[in-house]
């Protein structure tokens, strides 16, 4: 789960990570009021969406007067922002963050992520703040400092010194400040089960202070149960509506561009099914994992979500029944076709426990548009053929 910049900064503030003063608003008038309260003389008007690259897309702008704050708020609020991290359709800006302008001397980069190879958190820092860190990693990898921190020992002095010296900070007072900054950030990363925190840029001000000018945070979904305060920050309007709806029923759904709807049990087999359709000359319309306990209700919901997509010309149901017996799933599919109006060919492949009984049940049901696939390859081929005929 990701949160907005303004929310990340609330978390930062709670842990004493220094941030510029700012106020989140949802209207132009409120933006001007917020600017008055902050006092100026310079403000930054920032679009709040869950994507990076907002500045380049025109979603972050500097205002020198209250009139400019009004103009910019009016311009940015309600605009559809397209950045390199959004889809081509972009994202609607519904919230703004009005922030004090900072006296920027240097722009740095600081993040904490999980290093899957080391199996522990990794602090990354760079003097090349304000740039896309993937570009920095590619062109000048020597400018990125990486400091793994074993959670069993936590953030120690040497971690801080490696960061400070790595960033070329020689002034002792400044060293102390950046070490304290990183230490607090690491603490909040661990305590909140964050998946990643990225501050880009982290700025050094004219007076030698460090401030988080931006803040991006993502959390481990599996741990949200123990962080109700973080879970409450979820903004559903930033997420794909169909994915959210699917998740309510225990379905894992991702929309794609193709024509063949897929309903599969298991994430690996679901991806493998998409790959097989592609290999056979078709195009998958979605990823959909119905999970380990597919029943009539979840299958019906799956059909409903897949069929919302007007591009879908055929549906391939590919289930490898393990503990769940195939005959039950077959009955579930028949039930589901009664609940939902399925108006495209449905190719069903059921394998595993009690598969022959299941095939018989499907044949006996005599449902129009229902085609039985013998195995994964056969089912995928029939689905591709059905979509081409449609």
């Amino acid at each position: 789960m990701n949160i907005h910049e303004y929310q990340a900064k609330q978390v930062f503030a709670k842990y004493g990570v220094p941030i510029p003063k700012g106020i989140m608003v949802e209207s132009v008038d409120a933006a001007v009021e917020a600017a008055k309260e902050l006092g100026g003389p310079i403000w930054v008007v920032k679009a709040q969406i869950h994507a990076g690259g907002r500045g380049l897309g025109g979603g972050v702008k500097l205002a020198k007067t209250l009139d400019e704050v009004r103009e910019l708020a009016d311009e940015i609020l309600g605009m559809t922002l397209v950045t390199h991290q959004t889809t081509a359709e972009g994202k609607l800006v519904q919230k703004l963050y009005i922030e004090d302008g900072a006296d920027i001397k240097d722009e740095l980069y600081l993040s904490v992520v999980l290093d899957r190879k080391l199996e522990m958190p990794l602090i990354m820092a760079s003097t090349e703040g304000g740039m896309n860190i993937e570009d920095v990693a590619e062109k000048t990898p020597e400018k990125i400092i990486t400091v793994p921190v074993d959670p069993a020992i936590g953030f120690q002095g040497f971690h801080g010194r490696e960061l400070a010296f790595g960033l070329g900070i020689t002034d002792k007072a400044e060293q102390k400040k950046i070490i304290s900054f990183a230490q607090k950030l690491f603490k909040l990363y661990m305590e909140n089960d964050a998946e990643m925190i990225e501050i880009n840029p982290l700025v050094k001000t004219g007076s030698g202070d460090f401030l988080a000018l931006d803040g991006k945070m993502g959390f481990d979904n599996s741990a949200l149960g123990r962080h109700p305060d973080i879970a409450a920050m979820r903004d559903l309007s930033e997420e794909d509506a169909d994915e959210v709806e699917a998740a309510k029923y225990g379905l894992s759904y991702v929309a794609l561009d193709g024509e063949i709807g897929c309903m599969v049990n298991g994430a690996g087999l679901a991806m493998g099914t998409m790959d097989t359709i592609n290999y056979m000359g078709g195009t998958p319309a979605n990823f959909l994992d119905v999970g380990g306990s597919a029943n009539a209700e979840t299958v019906a919901k799956g059909f409903e979500i897949i069929l919302k997509n007007p591009k879908v010309k055929a549906i391939f149901v590919n289930i490898f029944g393990g503990i769940v017996r195939c005959d039950r799933i077959a009955n579930g599919i028949i039930e589901a076709t009664k609940i939902t109006d399925v108006n495209v060919p449905v190719i069903v492949r059921l394998d595993g426990t009690n598969a022959p009984e299941a095939a018989q049940i499907l044949k006996n049901a005599n449902i129009a548009n229902l085609i039985v696939g013998d195995d994964l390859g056969d089912g995928a081929a029939k689905a591709v053929a059905a979509a081409k005929q449609a």
């Binding site: 190879k117 089960d193 298991g266 994430a267 679901a270």
Partner: protein, 290 residues
């Protein structure tokens, strides 16, 4: 022969009396697995499925001599359960539970390693040595005894692969689901050498997916150490970037962890890489010369 577990392996179940634990322990017992007891705090002294229940893993190990634990406790308690097993001297913990917090697994895996305990999972179907010992949730009936070792991040692709191998007239020595979470226990690079050393395993099926670089590391190891034929499939060639595909770890971040780079690395290591899981059985028949 087989790897890691066989008909003599003594197994306990953590989360024994819960709904999932009960159902699957029953299935494992029916398969022939030597489940010698289970652990559920505050239910010690009772009997469940005809086996003793203990309050702690330490007590269960001391009384039964179990070396493997199958873990079904709820997600928030997985870390605790794994560390308890490690402390009690369990040699292999098979973690079936889905949705364990990643931070807990970092701590628990590091602690397990310190105690010399191997782990499998979390969020995996478990391990099965065909016709001897099933520790997990896979349908036992599809795994016929044979000479192919199987290792997979995905549960249903494990079944799909094993089923095809058996339909081609071959069978399985041991099949292992390693799970698709960001942090997992035993992985390709620990398990592949075990299959290499097992005289009964003549070929290996390796199923991977997008995200992380375990398959790339495996390609390096295969090139250097594995002489037996390996057939591989990597799921997610058609997965979009930046989207989590069901498994928490199955995500292409930036340009890293794509199916393409993994397939190329494996091919360069001499692995027979198939583009669809529907080809796994045929590929095994090819490499084993039938």
């Amino acid at each position: 022969m087989s790897i890691l577990v066989n008909k003599d392996t003594k197994v306990i179940v953590q989360g024994f009396t819960g709904k999932e634990g009960t159902f699957h322990a029953e299935q494992c017992l029916a398969y022939g697995t030597k489940i010698v007891g289970g652990v559920t705090p505050n239910k010690g002294g009772q009997e469940h499925l005809g086996k003793p229940v203990f309050n702690t893993v330490a007590e269960a190990v001391k009384t039964t001599g179990a070396t493997v634990s199958m873990i079904f406790v709820p997600p928030a308690f997985v870390g605790d359960a794994v560390m308890e097993a490690a402390e009690a001297g369990i040699e292999l913990a098979v973690i079936i539970t889905e949705g364990a917090p990643v931070k807990d697994m970092q701590m628990a895996k590091a602690y397990a390693t310190k105690h010399g305990m191997k782990t499998l999972g979390p969020n995996c179907p478990g391990i099965i040595t065909a016709e001897e010992c099933k520790i997990g949730i896979m349908p036992g009936s599809i795994f016929k005894k044979g000479n192919v070792g199987l290792i997979s991040k995905s549960g249903t692709l494990t079944y799909e692969g094993a089923n095809q191998v058996c339909n081609e007239g071959f069978g399985i020595t041991t099949a292992i689901g390693i799970g698709g979470d960001p942090i997992i226990g035993l992985s390709y690079n620990q398990i592949l050498p075990m299959f290499e050393a097992d005289p009964d395993t003549h070929a290996i099926v390796m199923i991977g997916e997008i995200g992380g670089d375990l398959e790339i590391q495996a390609a390096k190891l295969i090139k250097e150490q594995i002489t037996k034929p390996v057939v591989a499939f990597i799921a997610g060639q058609t997965a979009p970037k930046g989207k989590t595909m069901g498994h928490a770890g199955a995500i292409v971040s930036g340009s890293a962890g794509t199916a393409k780079e993994k397939m190329e690395a494996l091919e360069a290591a001499g692995v027979k890489v198939v583009v669809s899981p529907a080809e796994i059985g045929k590929a095994i028949a090819e490499v084993l010369g039938k």
